[in-house]
Amino acid sequence: MNKDIKNIKDKNEEETWSQDFPFHKQNATLVGRREFAKMLALVSGGLALGSGLVAAKANFFPKEKVTGEHFVCNKKDIPVGGGRSFIIQGSDIPYLLIHLEDGSFKAYEQKCTHLSCSVYYKKGTGQIVCPCHNGYFNASDGSVMAGPPPRKLPQLQVIVKGDKLFVTAPSIESV
């Protein structure tokens, strides 16, 4: 009697391992619907974990804000319709200071919000252009006009003191 039970158990164990580690190639490459469903649940867990990491980054390791005023250049260094790249001390984010045709100065992050390509101001159009995938931003407020960028360009506030141009973190109203 016990021998019969042992035989059944041995047979089942053999079939279980051969299902998990099949030695025929066609069985090894076969993905059944049950395996597919289990894999989807695993992917779901991965996505939940990813969302958790994003939430943790947002809440516990927020992006450092620009503090204080930083000198960029003199007014005469940027002609009307021109731009100048700069980096704030202690940071590695590239920024773009532009002189619009209406005489105002604007400063934005130079990384496109789509895939971080370098953007530039297209003279006379009022548009900041990303050449990689044809993304267009409004030069007066950084909002997206066309193309794949999902959000507006982060902006810095420009302060004009005499002939000198400074940048600082944007005031809350302008964010």
Partner: protein, 99 residues
């Protein structure tokens, strides 16, 4: 003993197939929803809005629990049931052998 379940299974042979397909469709929809949540959370976080990321995380976690729960309802299929040492049919066989 009632033979209702056996008769039902014999008359509706496609049942397991339909349940399995339905579970897969629900799982795919859930995963699509999670991808959308992750994309939105990333976008808002990069735009310095942290509230959305937290809400999206709890939503995503809830969906994951639903997906894990759906796995419980995956039908085993007759062939696997026979091979499964813990299946009710095999336990009955075991009991018979023990007697």
């Amino acid at each position: 003993m009632s033979n209702f379940r056996t008769n039902q299974n014999k008359s509706n042979t496609n049942k397991i197939n339909v349940i399995l397909s339905a579970v897969i469709v629900i799982l795919v929809l859930n995963v699509a929803l999670q991808i959308w949540l992750l994309y939105t959370a990333l976008n808002y976080t990069l735009d310095n809005d942290t509230g959305v990321a937290t809400t999206a995380f709890f939503g995503s976690l809830l969906i994951f629990f639903i997906c894990a729960g759906m796995i419980y309802y995956l039908p085993e299929g007759e062939i696997r049931k026979k091979n499964n040492l813990f299946s009710p049919s095999l336990q009955k066989k075991d009991e018979k052998l023990r007697q």
